[in-house]
């Protein structure tokens, strides 16, 4: 077996892919309702928001950073969407755009705190996690906004060619993200920054600008996810997206992105997402309760990274 083949086989993504296939087979045997197009599409609908945010989070973690504030940004944008539309009387499409823009601004603020003041991303976004959620609560005054027009629900509840609309959006974003991270100059710069930010800067890459862009994108995507979320659940509440960041980070890390930066792929993140959602859904269908599922996901997270570490140790020597 050639070294290249061996390398490919021992990649985290390959291990994860095999694990995912095994999981799918086992779960399919556990419940005959699991492996149906209907169920799988529906699971896609449910994971679209986490998935979208995970795409941007992959970039963030590849640079060696982290963004804990995404769940709060989602809540803030959801609230503002409702407020812009209902209280300020803006047309709904404009309110949607504005909401997403606010998400981008929130991400930009994260980026500015991190690049301009040199605050470690974990701390910076820990602070904005509280701040953005607080703004959402303060602005909403705990009121929810309801009664959106029917066309708006197309985004979160509708279908296009038999596939949930948000799955199309997610798929499109995933392809774009995969191309950018894997093939583009910007992706290259992202990896270089995550592996060695100083060397990247000394090579004439604009490190700060790249980081700003990535954190802004993370906010924008969280904003987009918020709009889809509101459309899916037909209402706006300030506690939306609570704890989202942990799900997202779990998926990304499960997907083989190194928390220290420099390593990770969109394919890996997609596999990680798939495995997580398959476990949640499949175990529920197989009769395991929600709390048991949480335990399994935690164990799978540790186990996968452990296996991957052991293989990598062998490969590196």
């Amino acid at each position: 077996m050639s070294a290249a083949w061996k390398n490919l086989l021992l990649r985290h993504e390959t291990i994860l892919g095999v694990l995912l296939v095994i999981t799918l087979i086992v779960l399919a045997f556990q419940s005959d309702r699991f492996f149906t197009a209907d169920n799988l599409l529906n699971q896609g609908r449910l994971m679209a928001e986490v998935g979208l945010v995970a795409l941007a989070m992959t970039f963030v973690i590849v640079t060696g950073g982290i963004d804990l504030s995404v769940g709060s940004i989602l809540g803030l944008v959801a609230i503002l969407l409702g407020v812009f539309w209902q209280k300020l009387g803006l047309p709904l499409p404009l309110a949607m755009m504005l909401g997403i823009v606010v998400g981008g601004v929130a991400g930009l603020v994260n980026g500015l705190i991190i690049t301009r003041f040199g605050v470690p991303p974990l701390i910076a976004t820990l602070a904005t996690l509280a701040l953005y959620r607080g703004l959402a609560e303060g602005i909403s005054q705990a009121r929810s906004v309801r009664g959106y027009p029917d066309w708006f629900f197309m985004l979160g509840q509708g279908e296009f060619l038999g596939v949930p609309v948000q799955l199309w959006i997610f798929g499109l974003c995933a392809v774009i993200a995969a191309v950018i991270l894997g093939l583009s100059t910007f992706g290259r710069a992202t990896y270089a920054i995550g592996s060695n930010a100083v060397a990247a800067r000394f090579s004439g890459l604009s490190v700060d600008r790249s980081l700003l862009l990535i954190y802004t994108a993370s906010g924008l995507i969280a904003g987009l996810a918020a709009v889809i979320f509101v459309s899916r659940v037909s209402t706006t509440r300030s506690d939306m997206g609570t704890g989202l960041e942990l799900d997202v980070i779990t998926a990304v890390v499960l997907g083989g992105t190194s928390i220290f930066g420099g390593r990770g792929t969109i394919i890996g993140t997609l596999l990680g997402l798939g495995l997580m959602q398959a476990l949640k859904n499949g175990l529920a269908l197989a009769g395991v309760k929600g709390d048991g599922t949480i335990v399994v996901i935690g164990a799978v997270l540790i186990g996968t990274i452990l296996i991957s570490n052991i293989f990598r140790k062998d490969a590196d020597g």
Partner: protein
């Protein structure tokens, strides 16, 4: 450029914030209120036609064994443990129901929706739910109906057309009246009080607070509301918040409303540890077991609650009746096992009864 954007965003946020008018008491919602008469005479409730939904293509389940899943707002708190127990009791009694409870560990709409969605796929015959958000949960419940699943709510309602029936533990205005009347009795018509709630976004609590504000204004206009604080569903935080209220207002504070089964015992504990038993009254919603130590020590005189075990029991009975085809739109009452005949109100709601006030005399008889 960046600065301008930020400034614009801040301005926009401020505008948005001020766009909301403040309601009477912090923590209430902005839906219309319907306070009961001060003397307790029942208002003339206009008879409403059935406004619930109907499952499509439901098979004939009469007398057949059915699987039912109960998805409460969250699992792991005393209140929903009690409803879950009631559901299990009823299932056992009926003998032809296979019921289980499963749900999120935090009161999170998204997770609750995911749970229900998974159970629809797994092919249950009936779903019982307590909604974290009446609107957000509607699409997934409608989906359940469209798959021929019987859907019945309890504790916290959804939009009426998204489920068949809702078992109402007590009407909001009824709870509000019981709470405010009991506190007024203890602290007098001019006493000042504060509220400890879970979060301002929890629909039931927000509804109660709004109804309480309306009722107090109508019937006890001189009572003084001081402040509402949030304490999640967290024991120690509730205790700390209540303690801070006691410290802040000193002698001015005469009473505390606990709006959740977590906040009420924690507030009682705070009063006990501050040695204010007898000077600060605690009235609230709570389960009897958690309140026994305080009621027995005379620190808390009245605990308002329906019996959540009965609530779960009734919900299960109603679901069985619907599945059997015994409860049809337009019915005015339903048989609910040991609870007897329950009344239908508001078109598609089934009333459990008037809220129950636990006191030192009767609290020992309950164990949940």
């Amino acid at each position: 450029m960046i600065r301008k954007t930020l400034f614009a965003a801040a301005a926009l946020a401020a505008m948005a914030g001020s766009a909301f008018a403040a309601s009477a008491w912090t923590g209430g919602d902005d839906l219309p209120t319907n306070p009961l008469a001060c003397d307790g005479t029942a208002g003339a409730a206009a008879a409403k036609p059935y406004d619930g939904g109907e499952p499509t293509g439901a098979p004939d389940r009469k007398g057949k064994k059915i699987t039912v899943v109960d998805v409460p707002k969250l699992i792991g708190i005393g209140y929903f443990n009690a409803t879950s127990k009631g559901i299990a009791d009823a299932a056992k009694e009926l003998g032809n129901v296979d019921a289980k409870t499963d749900g999120p560990t935090q009161a999170n709409i998204d997770q609750q929706i995911t749970f229900i969605d998974n159970y629809i796929t797994s092919g249950v015959d009936g779903i019982l739910f307590a909604a974290n958000d009446p609107v957000a949960i509607a699409p997934v419940l409608k989906k359940a109906l469209s798959k021929g699943i019987n859907v019945v709510g309890y504790d916290a309602n959804s939009q009426p057309d998204a489920r068949q029936w809702f078992v109402n533990q007590a009407e909001f205005n009824g709870i509000a009246k019981a709470m405010v009347d009991n506190l007024a009795k203890e602290i007098g018509e001019e006493g000042a009080f504060a509220i400890v709630t879970s979060t301002f976004t929890t629909p039931n609590q927000a509804r109660w607070i709004a109804e309480m504000a309306a009722y107090a204004e109508k019937c006890h206009p001189k009572m003084k509301w001081l402040e509402t604080v949030e304490a999640q569903e967290d024991n120690v935080l509730s205790f700390n918040q209540a303690t801070t209220l006691i410290n802040k207002y000193g002698d001015e504070l005469k009473g505390i409303f606990g709006m959740t089964s977590v906040a009420t015992p924690a507030s009682a504990e705070a009063v006990t540890q501050a040695n204010k038993c007898g000077t600060i009254a605690v009235v609230g919603l709570a389960t009897p077991n958690a309140m026994k130590p305080y009621v027995e020590k005379d620190c808390v005189k009245s605990v308002v609650l329906w019996n959540p075990v009965d609530l779960g029991y009734a919900a299960m009975q109603v679901l069985r009746a619907v599945a059997d085809g015994d409860l049809k739109p337009g019915a005015t009452s339903v048989k609910a096992g040991k609870l007897g005949e329950l009344q239908v109100i508001n078109g598609s709601e089934i009333l459990l009864g008037a809220p129950f006030v636990f006191s030192k005399e009767n609290i020992g008889q309950f164990d949940f």
